[in-house]
Structure formats: structure tokens, C-alpha cells
């Protein structure tokens, strides 16, 4: 869904930035979304400054919208893993990488 929505938006985005915090993604606001999401999920002390940076870059409503999306996927990740929904075959390589 990320790839499809990026393509439709006509953007170039380096997805390595999701797994490598030394890598910059490209479009305006993407790095701030990544930093805020990491701080929120990892309960980092940098959360307040990451939120401020997100609000400055994308506007005040963006912080709540990103917080909601992160919250939703904290929910979905737990539901999928704890109920044992099988991983699609197309994602098995990624699964091995994540589980190692």
C-alpha cells in the first residue's frame, strides 16, 4: 500500500529509510514522519521534539493524523501476530529477515 500510494502521488521515496535511520527518504515531511513514528513506537525521549518538527513541517493536524495511523498499526500488528494470521508467500523472504 505504501508503494502504490507513493506511485499515485508521483513521488520518489527511498524505502531503505524505513529500516535505516541514516538514510533520507526524499519528499518533504517524510523524514519527520519517520522520526516521529520511531520515537512514538520506541517510547523515545525525543518524542516531543519529533512532534514539534512534524508540526512545523506538515502542520498541526499532521501530528494527530500520524499518531492515529501509528496507533492503528500498533493494534493491527498485535492482532495479526497474536492470532497467527499466516504471512503471504510473497513476504516470506522479508519475514525471515525480520525474524533473524
Amino acid at each position: 500500500m505504501l508503494r502504490a500510494s507513493i506511485d499515485i502521488a508521483g513521488l520518489e521515496l527511498d524505502l531503505r529509510a524505513i529500516v535505516d535511520d541514516q538514510c533520507s527518504t526524499g519528499p518533504d515531511g517524510a523524514d519527520e514522519i519517520l522520526a516521529f513514528t520511531r520515537a512514538l513506537v520506541q517510547r523515545s525521549a525525543s518524542l516531543a521534539s519529533a512532534r514539534d518538527a512534524l508540526r512545523t513541517t506538515l502542520g498541526d493536524p499532521a501530528a494527530a493524523a500520524v499518531a492515529g495511523a501509528v496507533g492503528n498499526f500498533e493494534m493491527m500488528n498485535r492482532i495479526l501476530d497474536a492470532t497467527g494470521v499466516p504471512t503471504p508467500h510473497t513476504l516470506h523472504d522479508l519475514e525471515q529477515q525480520l525474524r533473524s
Binding site: T25, A65, M76, D81, A82
Partner: protein, 212 residues
């Protein structure tokens, strides 16, 4: 509508998001399908304590249930079918386990969203009186997943063996992110464009070791 969530007024939050979180708080306090309101709030308290790296609070729940609640909250990716079966052997049905998953997953969602908005998690609601419905979903079958589901296993059927939990997931999903009917719209903007939502989603899943 009473609102349990105090958010910085300088941070605009969609009213539908706040309303959705409040509906979840009301659901949490009420008797569910297999657990009472007191049980559900105790599960939430245990999950929150685990996420905060605190010891178990005083609880009405059995030790094997509190242990599983903590795993759902903090390390769901290591839960396997054997551990679900072990809980089943302790007289916790697959459907009751499914409800545990739903309650804890939604608590985590709301607490995360609220922290992201710069506020402290709301106090847990006071449990309401009432008895569980014990409503069975006859079409749910256990196949390749750890629990029974209606039809193919997937994101929107994971809790389908407990209809109220399935509905609650759908409700909060729509409030915090996108409704199921909005999922096919890659051009949608809800305060931010779809690609920005998906970037946050993919990063969260990566950090949680969730492949899906």
C-alpha cells in the same frame, strides 16, 4: 458525548478520531462476549503495566492469563500456536483468547495515539456491571491461524470468531486511520495524504517485527 481524553487544544484532532477512542473506552468497561467488564479492564491494566515495564498490578485474573496479556502487549510476534494451545489447556477458550487480543490491541492503539498527541494515557474506565454474552459464531473454523476465523485468515477476519471484537476493530480502524471502505482509495487525504499514512504504518510494522 463524555470524553475521557484531554488533548492539547493547540493540536487539532479530527472529532471522529476522539469519538472513536471514546467508544473504545466505553466498550472496554462493559461486559464483552467471554469476559466481564472487570476482566476486560484488568486485562487492559496488565497490558499497560507490561508496556510501561512495570510489575503486574493486583488483579482478578489468573497468572497464566496475566502472563499472556503481557506477551500480547509487548512481544506478540513470538506468540505461536503452542502457547495459545497451552492457554487453552488452562480453560481459556480460543474465543476468549481472541477477545483478549482485541482488548489489548485496541488499548495499545488508543494509548499510542494519545501519547503521540502529547498527552498522558487516559485513566482506565470504571468497569460496568453485566455478564458476557457468550455469543458463538458458528461459521468460525480454526485452520492455519492460531485461532478460529470466518473464511480466509487476514487482517479483517482475524477476530471474526468473536463478532463484537471484529466490529470493535473495524470501528477503531476507521477512527484512527481509514475505514475498510476507504482502504482502496490511494488518493485519500485525511489531514495527511495516503502515502504519509502508509509511511507511518510501514515503519510501525517494521519496528514491531510484523511482516504483514
Amino acid at each position: 458525548m463524555t470524553n475521557s481524553f484531554i488533548i492539547d487544544p493547540a493540536l487539532p484532532v479530527r472529532p471522529a478520531m476522539l469519538d472513536g477512542m471514546q467508544r473504545e473506552w466505553d466498550r472496554l468497561a462493559a461486559a464483552g462476549t467471554w469476559w466481564t467488564g472487570a476482566d476486560r479492564v484488568a486485562l487492559a491494566a496488565e497490558a499497560r503495566a507490561a508496556a510501561d515495564h512495570r510489575p503486574s498490578p493486583a488483579s482478578v485474573l489468573a497468572p497464566e492469563i496475566t502472563a499472556m496479556a503481557r506477551r500480547i502487549a509487548t512481544t506478540p510476534h513470538v506468540i505461536d500456536r503452542t502457547s495459545v494451545d497451552a492457554l487453552h489447556d488452562q480453560k481459556v477458550s480460543l474465543e476468549a483468547y481472541t477477545e483478549m487480543v482485541g482488548v489489548i490491541a485496541r488499548l495499545t492503539a488508543v494509548d499510542t495515539a494519545v501519547r503521540g498527541m502529547g498527552s498522558s494515557p487516559a485513566p482506565l474506565p470504571k468497569p460496568q456491571e453485566g455478564v458476557p454474552t457468550y455469543a458463538v459464531v458458528p461459521d468460525a473454523k480454526r485452520r492455519s491461524a492460531h485461532v478460529a476465523m470466518v473464511g480466509s485468515a487476514g487482517a479483517t477476519s482475524a477476530l471474526s470468531s468473536v463478532a463484537a471484537e471484529d466490529s470493535a476493530q473495524q470501528d477503531l480502524h476507521g477512527a484512527l486511520y481509514l475505514s475498510y471502505s476507504e482502504m482502496g482509495d490511494y488518493r485519500i487525504v485525511k489531514d495527511i495524504p495516503r502515502w504519509q499514512m502508509e509511511l507511518a504504518a510501514a515503519t510501525t510494522s517494521w519496528l514491531n517485527h510484523c511482516v504483514y
